[in-house]
Symmetry: C2
Subunit: 592 residues, 2 copies
């Protein structure tokens, strides 16, 4: 069973991602080191002791529709209430609405642990947090007063309604429509699909954030508005009123995250109320709905990255435990009696250490991204801009590298279990089934790569990414200067991978400057992976450099393994970025 | 829906794997080019029109136990009978038992297509073929006369009973036992798990091949004997007699291949018959059971490799079809009206072409392996030895590279489908669920790597692998000599990957010669992948060189893409082989 690695998480937050420095500099308000530890321990306890034990029934039973009602798995409603009562929904929310105003870093660390416990469960709260952020940033005072308190407390959950059957990655073509009413409200009509936690009986109300198009809206993404559409209308005294004209038509039958209800939602077909049309309230300005969504997009993408980290951690723990207990054959050099634990076989050991390095690398990247977002909120002027850009640059890497790692590590975890890995009762297969959605939603990893290359590299005319690579090189230099034997050839390997990163980056910036977007996009996915691998090497090294007090052997060993057995792939990836476009273009002939 | 790529398969068999040359030289008996085509077309028709349409219900309904009976999915019993009536079970079997004595190459090509149609369905026949081979090679004349005809015809199916809860990869510790009886028969007692198609009602009898230990057997793998244990005893006139004392205790609940019953089998607990003990007949000699199994192991491993190829092909077809139809956004350079088909987006195109290259590379490797096995049967003396070694060398690569590709390609297929890929009704997720077992069974891919490095590289003191690499270099030279513009930088890339292969091979041979098995094993898995990637590049090039008559643009384009966008990874893999062991050893500290 999953046990939250609280100490490892705390170390990574503080000494790799930058929290210790920020705390020292007083950048994070009253937050103290002790409070950080206390929050992490309690979030970890909740994840290990309360969430994880309900993951298996959640998967097996799944969310289901019975007599028109959407039911979550047995025990989940109570679990959710415990979770909300613990104040966990409110960590980062503003204090005026009952939040605790804590840094995002703490929230993503907690999200990691809950997602390790059960990704399907943690998904619901993740959506509520995102919706709260969008409402808090763009909603009118009246709207916030009426809805945000209960969203922050978790008394009501929220959903995000973007996707339609023909509008997924491209929201510009959505058909859901909104009509203005004289009282300032709107009526919403349309169908939305893949709506996570769109309907359930866990809370007495659900707040839907819905994108729709006004009759006179411009075509495309500039004609989309964002509406708050509650399941039950809310009276001025805060009590619940009539049922709004929306409902869940059906649930999807999915590969994984079975416990999470994925709903097809129908708005305004007249099922409820006097006249057809779901009553909605505008958030922000008309036709600026997508911009409102984008303010929370970075955080939502990072939250999905945390799902990847979470699966990595949980799958690795499970595989290591199995490989220690399962005996089979005799490993080279085994002198014990009988068969060796399979962890002694070099191939199994290689797999497990690779899983650990991907877990820790993904975690560090995601936490560093959260740190940048936090710093952008706690600094001003040029410094705030630098940190905001850093967060923007890291977001697609965090989302894609960690979610790809989630799939790969979960698959490796099955392999370590041998035939038992393929049996559902073992639980290793669930991690792969759950993990597989994360590279897809909140923008596929291909879209992340396009975003990274075409929008993030050009930030500040390339100065952001160049400055960042410069900082990474400083760490590589510190590795060389440390003369720690345990690093092996790490310094050389980091230098090589950062040179690959630099060359690929400069090539892409030059292609973009020359207007060759197609050539740049051809190499976007290999570039994104290159960046993630290079960061993995550097961040593992940073952790090893920082860990003097704990005896750093483990960190040195993991870093050295990543340096000498994993990151050399950056050379081939750079080659694909720079030299791959011509053959990809030529190969279009194969695709008809 | 899957459509068997008969022409592509025929081309690869003939012009990449070596069948055309073998036919010309009269090495394959009376077999003619026309007959090859006719068999492939008919096997393809059966796969596309009869197997594939029943795959989805097979997955959804699954094999299940009802009132103690194991039921296969609706329609599968009739499908199996059609398949057996078509003579498909008999392709490679000896003519004296009703077989057609055709080359393995044809059989693996047919297996690929049936597995593309439904891997869970094709699994049953695959096991029967393996058991028939073991019985045909090692069984007594009387035993063969009594059982083999009906196994070859497919009138009875067969199962292979090796695994026990504590004996998976290491069969030496199995506990199932056999007792001698005065009439020359044996009584079998024990429990076997993960028995594919171990029980069903599709045929009136099932022939179990069971490994067990005699009371006076030596410890370990040298004390295991192989027994034929029929579900129903067979009278001397061929009619069925009493029910034997064996039964299926339960079915596994698996990640994939749901339609295939995976049974826990109990032998000799007294459920049937007068006295406890399932009646069994010795195959081969006492205590030589594992040797009997090994004669069919190469073919069984290759058959699993074909499952990987099969999933690659089917998942790629599905993803390409979806990417042509689904429109979203505007790709760079898109001049059509409205949104582009997603196949126009560079990242999606890269994914699809990678899927195609992995499919075709895996197919070529597996067919080349089958060709070597065939040639070893149709040649003599040193030549036969060379071909047998070639088959032995290629087998672990075929099994591992193709099954890893199956998982990767199926996962990419889901990604291409976006959110729809995660919905089970779409069918893309089934490929991943089915594919995930193939890297595990018939020897995990880690065990294949250990076999490749420690047993196959040393064949003929390294002359086999060195000779093979020499042949591969000839093809690379021919690419350079062809001066075909469409090859781009293929010649350089092939040279580089073959140099990596050669250096890694020599390093491993030197370590083995020096007695450093642990160091060699540390790099076994990267080496295995290196070999597969290098072969992919070379075989794609060989196909392009050979395809003058069809206009070779497509083959050149695919080869060039693989050369310039995929195989450069061999440099990093070589590095892991040669330089990776020290850091892996250091990282053991992390595994407790």
């Amino acid at each position: 069973m999953y046990k939250a690695p609280v100490d490892e998480i705390a170390f990574t937050l503080k000494h790799v991602a930058g929290m210790a420095e920020a705390l020292e500099q007083g950048r994070l308000g009253d937050l103290s080191d002790d409070l950080v530890d206390a929050i992490l321990h309690e979030a970890g306890r909740f994840a290990s002791d309360e969430v994880a034990p309900l993951a298996e029934i959640g998967d097996k039973q799944g969310a289901r529709m019975v007599d028109g009602k959407v039911l979550v798995p047995d025990g989940w409603a109570e679990l959710y209430r415990h979770w909300a009562e613990g104040g966990w929904n409110a960590l980062v929310a503003p204090e005026e609405f009952g939040g605790q105003g804590l840094p995002h870093m703490l929230n993503v660390a907690a999200l990691e642990m809950w997602n390790s416990g059960s990704m399907a469960f943690a998904l619901g709260p993740t959506l509520t947090m995102g919706a709260s952020e969008a409402l808090g940033t763009h909603g009118s005072a009246a709207l916030k007063e009426k809805f945000l308190h209960k969203m922050v407390s978790g008394e009501w959950t929220a959903s995000m309604n973007l996707t339609e059957p023909h509008a997924g990655s491209d929201l510009g073509v959505m058909k859901s429509r909104a009509e203005r009413r004289d009282d300032g409200s709107y009526r919403i009509f349309g169908q939305k699909i893949f709506i996570t936690w769109g309907e359930h009986e866990v809370t007495e109300n659900i707040v839907h954030l819905v994108l729709a198009r006004l009759p006179d809206a411009p075509a495309g993404t500039r004609g989309i508005s964002l509406f708050l559409v509650p399941k039950f209308l809310v009276n001025d005294d805060g009590t619940l009123g009539a049922r709004n004209d929306l409902h869940c038509h059906s649930l999807e039958h999915k590969l994984g995250i079975h416990g999470s209800p994925t709903c097809t939602m129908i708005y305004g077909d007249g099922k409820f109320g006097d006249e057809p049309g779901a009553i909605g309230y505008l958030i922000g300005e008309e036709n600026k709905g997508l911009a409102c969504m984008f303010t929370m997009m970075n955080n939502a993408r990072l939250a999905v990255g945390m799902q990847g980290v979470a699966i990595c951690e949980a799958a690795t723990q499970k595989a290591v435990a199995y490989a220690r207990e399962r005996t089979q054959g005799k490993a080279p050099g085994w002198t014990g009696s009988g068969m060796s634990p399979i962890i002694e076989h070099p191939d199994v050991a290689r797999t497990l250490v690779t899983m650990k390095a991907l877990t820790q690398g993904s975690r560090a990247i995601c936490y560093a991204c959260a740190h940048a977002i936090d710093m952008s909120h706690h600094t001003e002027g040029e410094e705030a801009k630098k940190w905001a850009e850093r967060g923007a640059l890291l977001t697609p890497i965090a989302k894609s590298f960690a979610t790809d790692a989630g799939v790969d590590v979960a698959s490796m975890g099955i392999q370590v279990h041998g035939g038992m890995g393929f049996i559902e009762e073992t639980g290793a297969a669930r991690y792969l089934r759950d993990a597989r959605i994360a590279p897809i939603y909140e923008g596929t990893n291909g879209i992340q790569a396009a975003d990274l290359v075409t929008r993030k590299l050009p930030l500040s005319d390339g100065a952001q990414v160049r400055g960042f690579i410069g900082e990474l090189k400083e760490i590589a230099r510190a590795v060389r200067g440390s003369n720690l034997e345990g690093f092996g050839e790490t310094a050389d390997r980091l230098d090589a991978s950062l040179a690959d990163l630099e060359q690929a980056t400069e090539w892409l910036l030059a292609e973009l400057a020359a207007g060759n977007a197609a050539a740049a996009l051809s190499g976007a996915t290999p570039y994104q992976r290159l960046f993630g691998l290079a960061l993995t090497g550097v961040y593992l090294a940073k952790g090893a450099l920082a860990d003097e007090e704990h005896g750093r052997d483990n960190r040195l060993a993991l870093c050295r393994f990543a340096a000498e057995n994993m990151i050399a792939e950056t050379a081939a990836l750079k080659d694909r970025v720079i030299n791959g476009a011509a053959s990809l273009t030529a190969a279009r002939v194969l695709l008809g």
